[in-house]
């Protein structure tokens, strides 16, 4: 085959397909190595190390950056996610409701909270609500306020995702459930919503990761040493030591949260795929 092609190509000898592939591959590796080499030899590693990777500064951050900072970040994230998921599901069902007033309220809420910066919402939760209801308190202190503030915004996004998930469940599923005598609500809870949640696992992962990073806004609420989270903890160290190493440590600690999370979700997706 190749020889026929070569003969057809004329007297000039051309490279075979495999030779061409090999040369292209070599060029790609060469470019990659060259870029690495340029960065490695031209960067001022000493200054970089002094500015961003000082072991003594990094060491001084432990165990504080894990306990309580990492734990608090996790607590804020979890609280906001659970609150957002519950409210988001309710909003999604309201948007799909036959009651027009529910649809209006849900649409209004979603449009409003998708448009508001999280910072503003947190500020309203932290200072607006206490002013409006001076003799009441949001339960859970900063944890409750964070769950509410981040969760209200997250709910707006989640509601749209969950609504799309519910609509993606074939209509026949609801019909089959109804013909078995299930009332509408029971059919939604037992049949439609579980399948909708399986569909929305990937976008929900993004939502959790976004929430994880949004917890850094907790400083708005005026946190104490006991409920400080990763970013606030690190920037305090940064200010005290006048060195950027804490930022690198903080970044790594965030990865400690998000990388295993991706793994867990991948496993959940595999499990859901088995049932598909």
């Amino acid at each position: 085959m190749t020889t026929v092609d070569d003969a057809a190509a004329g007297p000039k000898r051309r490279l075979t397909r495999r030779q061409r592939t090999r040369i292209i591959r070599l060029v790609q590796y060469a470019v990659f190595v060259a870029v690495l080499a340029v960065v490695a030899f031209t960067a001022d590693w000493h200054t970089v190390q002094q500015g961003f990777f000082r072991p003594d500064v990094a060491r001084s951050m432990f165990p504080g950056v894990l306990v309580p900072a990492l734990l608090n970040t996790l607590a804020f994230t979890l609280g906001a996610f659970v609150f957002g998921l519950v409210l988001g599901t309710v909003l999604a069902l309201m948007r799909l409701s036959e009651v027009r007033a529910y649809r209006w309220v849900a649409t209004g809420y979603i449009e409003l909270f998708r448009g508001l910066p999280v910072l503003v919402v947190l500020f309203l939760v932290g200072y607006g609500i206490p002013n409006a209801f001076p003799d009441r308190e949001i339960p859970g202190g900063v944890y409750g306020q964070m769950a509410l503030g981040l969760g209200m915004t997250a709910a707006a996004y989640m509601a749209e995702t969950i609504r799309a998930g519910i609509l993606a469940v074939p209509k026949g599923q609801l019909e089959a459930a109804r013909t078995l005598g299930m009332p509408y609500g029971r059919a939604m809870v037992s049949i439609v919503i579980p399948q909708a949640f399986r569909i929305v696992i990937p976008p929900m992962t993004n939502q959790i990761i976004t929430l994880t990073k949004d917890t850094s806004l907790a400083y708005v609420l005026g946190v104490t040493a006991a409920n400080v989270e990763i970013t606030k903890f690190s920037s305090d160290v940064l200010n005290a030591r006048v060195n950027a190493t804490p930022l690198i440590v903080a970044a790594l600690v965030y990865l400690v949260i998000t990388l295993p999370l991706s793994q867990v979700v991948r496993r959940m997706e595999l499990r859901a795929a088995r049932a598909r």
Binding site: A176, T179, L180, G181, R186, A275
Partner: protein
């Protein structure tokens, strides 16, 4: 013998489209009635009105002695007594076969898990799938899925079974499994209303065949009469197209 389904002057429109224009039909208890007819003739809509998956525009339907078209009837309670099998199976994809059969028993009939599972396994055996209890629907063939769907309906102990083109989505070699289960069911005395394109099933199993076209019942009677010696020209044309599809005259091509 009492009547399982009594349909009087049934009309159904989707917007400006009139699908059913005056249907009167009675199915007595223990009877197997097959509804045949060209696509778009309203067969499925008729069937879906019997358990109120579609709301009639006009007319009355009594199902199992209850007027299902009465807005105040206990619809969910009535539907528990009516099984339905869909063209697309509609098994619950997130549940195992066993859970597909037990969920409504437990949530609706309030049976205990043990009792629900016992009844589920009985019905799986009945459709020849006793070994598939732990499988997910996606891992079954279409024919197996449809038999699970039948077993799911039977687990509720229905007094009437509705079949909406149960074999139309199946590969040809799997049709027989499903039809055999349906024939056994008919032999046991189940009241069945079946929308189908399987003329052999209609001929062999049905007590009565109903031919529909254009939203009305054109002709009905014993299978031998309707399928073997139809009186209406429309029935003859339809049967020729179905039974001998390779010998249509040029004039008959759409």
């Amino acid at each position: 013998m009492s009547d399982a389904v009594v349909i009087e002057d049934l009309h159904k429109s989707f917007g400006p489209l009139e699908v059913l224009t005056g249907i009167d039909l009675t199915v007595t208890s223990g009877e197997v009635v097959c509804v045949i007819g060209p696509s778009g003739s309203g067969k499925s809509t008729l069937l879906r009105c019997v358990n109120l998956l579609e709301s009639p525009t006009r007319g009355r339907i009594h199902t199992l002695g209850v007027e299902i078209t009465d807005p105040d009837c206990e619809l969910d309670a009535l539907r528990r007594r009516i099984g339905m099998v869909f063209q697309q199976f509609n098994l619950f994809g997130h549940l195992t076969v066993l859970d597909n059969l037990t969920i409504a028993q437990r949530r609706v009939l309030r049976r205990t898990r043990a009792e629900a599972e016992r009844i589920a396994r009985e019905n799986l055996d009945r459709v020849g799938l006793g070994d598939k209890a732990g499988a997910y629907p996606a891992h079954l063939s279409g024919g197996q899925q449809q038999r699970v769907a039948i077993a799911r309906s039977l687990s509720m102990g229905p007094e009437l079974m509705l079949f909406d083109e149960p074999t139309s989505a199946l590969d040809p070699e799997l049709v027989g499994d499903v039809l055999t289960v349906m024939r056994d069911l008919a032999t046991e005395g189940m009241t069945m209303l079946v929308v189908t394109h399987e003329m052999a099933f209609a001929r062999d199993v049905a007590d009565r065949v109903v031919f529909m076209d254009g939203g009305v019942i054109v002709e009905q009677g014993a299978p031998a009469a309707v399928l073997g010696d139809p009186t209406e020209e429309r029935t003859r044309t339809f049967l020729r197209r179905v039974l001998d599809p390779t010998h249509l005259s040029d004039a008959e091509l759409d």
